[in-house]
Symmetry: C2
Subunit: 428 residues, 2 copies
Amino acid sequence: MCGERKWYSGHDRLPGIFAGKAFFRMMEGKVMEFTEAKFSKLISPLNGSVIRDIFKLLGKPGMISFAGGNPSNKALEPEVIAPIAHDVILKVGTPILQYGGTEGFAPLRESAAKFLTGSGVNAKPEWILPTEGSTQAMDLLFKALIDPGDTVLCESPTFLGTIQALHTYGAKLVAVPTDENGMLPDAAEEAIRKYSPKLMYIIPTFQNPTGVTLSLERRKRIAELASRYGVIIAEDDPYRDLRYEGEALPSIQSFDEEGWVVYLSSFSKLVSPGMRVGCAVVKIPSLMRKMVIGKQSSDLHSPLITQAIIDEYLRRGLMPAHVERIRALYREQLAAMLDGFAAFPQGTTHTVPQGGLFVWGRLLEGMDAVKLLGAAVDANVAYVPGTHFYPDGGNPETFRLNFSNAAIPDIREGMARLAGIIEKEAKN
Amino acid sequence: MCGERKWYSGHDRLPGIFAGKAFFRMMEGKVMEFTEAKFSKLISPLNGSVIRDIFKLLGKPGMISFAGGNPSNKALEPEVIAPIAHDVILKVGTPILQYGGTEGFAPLRESAAKFLTGSGVNAKPEWILPTEGSTQAMDLLFKALIDPGDTVLCESPTFLGTIQALHTYGAKLVAVPTDENGMLPDAAEEAIRKYSPKLMYIIPTFQNPTGVTLSLERRKRIAELASRYGVIIAEDDPYRDLRYEGEALPSIQSFDEEGWVVYLSSFSKLVSPGMRVGCAVVKIPSLMRKMVIGKQSSDLHSPLITQAIIDEYLRRGLMPAHVERIRALYREQLAAMLDGFAAFPQGTTHTVPQGGLFVWGRLLEGMDAVKLLGAAVDANVAYVPGTHFYPDGGNPETFRLNFSNAAIPDIREGMARLAGIIEKEAKN
């Protein structure tokens, strides 16, 4: 984390000449002031991503961070990407610098469809909407569908970035219980009947934050529920290719014959998060059209250079060997982290993921991972308290650990430090 | 246009297996169908940018297009950008491929602030929010401020992309009259008193669509109005450096001491629209913070590669000579277009811009530029009917011409064809 910090410029470092000064002017006896009251009702209560704010605390030397969700720096290949960037700009020429279509760079729509088809997803070029990471794919889907007050079902717990994104549309989140095989379909069906949700948001593979994978049986059931009740499913699947053991499962979308499932993919965890290339796979043309209209006023289109780099990366056939290499890397990091739990106080539990970037833990009853974070940061080790991943908070004893962004000796050391802190707290 | 078309994949070419087929399934006697009723109330009525749809008609051979707002292909420099891309990826290394800060690539915040400061704007690095073109800067400003039903003042006519973007937030647009020196300040003040708008949207320099520039006197008056009444101004100024004659004017923002003016800038018209790099200059920290929060869920952050390319372009000092070169190019194209009006029927009027990309025309009373577009496209010449630039429509006799994207002989030929079509219609 330390080396990256220079690329952040946090709002807390905005000294601005205006900071701390009131914006006012007397006019006919009234004070004109820029106040919070000017903000839109949906944005006004939002204070930003907790994770992004935790990141800003990680600059101190010696910090071992299990807090982020970054790929390992070792998984990134500037020496491969630089010549590809050079080549595609010259190969495509002037059109790569001109305005492009909102629907995306046509060659990438083709190559992404081919890539996804080989990976358990139904995909055709005309179903692919390239986006700025899957973050934007979700934003556009929410923009197309969600009115303030609409209900969205999600897993309990779920990705906090999506919780925040849904709040910007005024959605009412209802969390559906999960177990070690993902969302419980019976509970999902009950929630659908009770709340008539517009959307269900699911991270089926190596879920963020739990690392849990939705079983094959449940994938079929959930596709069926979508069709039976007419609920759109956002299947957010950025970790699917980061499998370290076990067999790959087909996507929920592959069981959907009518277009209810919108599949969201990303190249962030495979090639580069900083390039911001992901896509939505949208089978229903009218829904695709509305997402395109939303994108017209969001950013007009995604940058052509980054789309062309990913396209070329796929066309050169670089993905399979690269994915194999990072899998080997992460497999060992995950193993080291799982080993580290042995030193935790008895009764601490954790998931045993077959892939992805995260392990989810649960402290002893009555312990509070938010409170412990201070002691952890003092001891130079960081994680994200689990409560932030629950739409309604609570669950203070849970926590999320990321293993991809720390070297193995650091994972061992960091887990030992955490064990010590938790042990000490458990004795109090 | 023709050469670019292959990068577009319009929705009208989405054959999809689902096209024209109902999405339904019988369930307990009910038909489950994906219908327009699923769409959010704000997106549901929107049909997308008219300009983007006109673009799709331009593929036919021999078409002379005055319809777009694209820079000239001659103004784009893939041979300059390719080695810069290569160099910055290797120079920055791994962090350019990692997650970056939502607040933007720190070196670009510095270099953009320096560039803008040299160009009549008050700017400091901490006030700069790099965005996906100024399109996204506007979207984030609207997201931070606008609730459905809020009033936004704009020029009459104004940029149609902004009209659409404001509709996605449910804003009520009130158009303020303009003349050859831009928005009328007295009319603006009256509208402020009457409607208590949250925002005023102004394109002060070589306005889109009219080409008109707001006078110095009015810039001061408008900055004063913002402060007196506590109205945020979105000063959208992407054409400012494309001046072919006359003296540059300071921005409205330079007269604002309290932060009411948010300045929106873009590198699209100078370096590359396809790279999608622009920025907002936001002086008020709490407003910057809300725009950053909006961006977290819009796209997390802008791609680092494109930000770094623009940064490097500025740092290498390539901008001044490049701008000089494209000015010389566009100056002649504008002159050729203005000459072409001589053959139009007497009584046709047009603006005489000192810069930018557009000329605005007005046909004889009772003529209809929407109706004429069909005949024009048949004769292989295209423009955008002016009615689309009015929030409330009307003004059928107006039209917008772009001169940057056609060679001078084509401009002459296209204007002659238009003159013929209009002449013929005038005689009917």
